[in-house]
Amino acid sequence: MGAAERALWSLSGLVVLALAWAGGHAAYGPFVLPRPDETVATAFDLVGSGAAGAAVLATAGQALLGWAIGLGIGLALAFPAGFLAPLGLAARPVATLLVAMPPVAWIVLALIWFGPGGGADAFTVAVTVAPMLFGAALQGLASRDPALDEMAAQFRAPPLVRLTDVIAPQLLSHLAPAAGAALGFSWKVCVMAEVMASGAGIGGQLAIARAHLDLPATFAWLLILVALALLSDTLLLWPLRRRTAAAR
């Protein structure tokens, strides 16, 4: 398949979705589904007029900060757990337990611990994605090829060379998809925390739109959120994916 044909097929899915939306609007009326074009126009209005700026910045700041902290913590803990067998055995069930924790539980705890508006959104994101990323990093370290380790040891590769040239590339191929999934999660969890707790950012705006039963605005904020998630995925993870794809 050529690049143009592939792009066309990718686009066709979105077109079908938009048609289904328009059909739903025609069938159930504007109090269930607003008109797609009206929603898009509202979203462009919010962004174009600058009204969305503060909310977008707040949500993006908390979501990305939380993701970065979660990634940092996950990686920092995966290395000792990956290289010291007892630590790895001790850490695995804890990580599984933490992955099973619903993000809502963290939101409630963050509210109690920090109060509203005390960085609780980023905390909730970080603590939700850290165990996911820890697990993926641990898996990446565990599934690396022992033959390459033996080769590197034979050539007396110093620890830094082993890390950058042998371990990290194998780790990345496991970590990149998990980091992408975690990034998507970060936006959702962040907005949920905003709706339920802090009232800041896009979540706060969603809560207001809901209170006013303003369906076009609700959908417009969701559209903005989805666009942000896609944009961040493209900007942050595309280079990583390209690297790992080339390695294979």
């Binding site: 060379v161 590339p169 294979r248």
Partner: protein
């Protein structure tokens, strides 16, 4: 400078793999370890390289720098051929420009084309990949090189060309070599000394000098003579008549 196995035995769990091995590889020697599949050849090589410790006996190496060419190339999939060949030098702290230049010179000598140097291992043929692995070992200027059936997976003509390259390169640098194979003609083509192992648990059943055969007919004649030696024939019979 030499490598010495003294009374080495090794078992994996309850299963003995090597038994009572005494062997010395001196500087400049090309020793070929010949033995049937599963007799412990790779294990002996790992003992020689220090990747494995013996259960009984001692392995002592006086060589300053050993390099290994494995049965599979063990290249790094995310680096091109040139950086793979330079990996050992990078580990030694050689500067990037210098190690790439040296790796390029060796790879060209081993028959890679300019266009191959920028290829990742997945895009190299099997023979090319083994040349890169051989270049990576030569590039650290070892005084001892260990090779584990590096050409076993290659087609016969290509294998012969690579055998010629190995002989040329080892003669050129004077490096001592321990080369594992179960191909008798490969042994007679390369070795200055041939050590024959019995079936598992591996014991040394023959150890004799060999003049590396210069051409195919000579290699096969020497191989036939080797198989007719009484000590080797006895070992083959003891292994149930299994050919190498």
């Amino acid at each position: 400078m030499s490598l010495t196995f003294a009374g080495v035995s090794l078992a994996f769990g309850a299963e003995p793999v090597l038994s009572g091995i005494d062997l010395t590889v001196a500087a400049g020697e090309f020793v070929v370890l010949l033995g049937p599949s599963g007799c412990g050849k790779t294990t002996m090589l790992r003992l020689a390289s220090g990747a494995l410790k013996p259960g009984r006996g001692t392995v002592t190496s006086g060589f300053a720098r050993a390099a290994v060419v494995y049965q599979t190339p063990r290249l790094l999939g995310w680096m091109d051929a040139l950086d793979n060949a330079a990996f050992g030098m990078k580990s030694l702290g050689v500067r990037r420009a210098e190690r790439r230049e040296r790796a390029r010179a060796i790879l060209m000598r081993l028959g890679l084309a300019e266009a191959d140097l920028a290829k990742r291992p997945s895009r190299l043929s099997g023979g090319m990949a083994q040349r890169v692995a051989f270049a990576r070992a030569l590039a650290v200027e070892p005084d001892f090189i260990l090779m584990d059936e590096p050409f076993a997976a290659l087609e016969a003509g290509l294998r012969r060309r690579l055998q010629d390259l190995v002989r040329a390169e080892t003669e050129r640098s004077g490096v001592a070599a321990l080369f594992v194979t179960h191909d008798v003609a490969e042994a007679t083509r390369l070795a200055s000394r041939i050590v024959v192992l019995s079936a598992r648990p591996g014991r040394i059943v023959a150890d004799f000098a060999n003049a590396p055969a210069r051409e195919a007919a000579e290699a096969f004649e020497a191989a036939a003579a080797l198989l007719r030696r009484s000590d080797v024939a006895a070992a083959i019979n003891a292994a149930g008549g299994e050919e190498f």
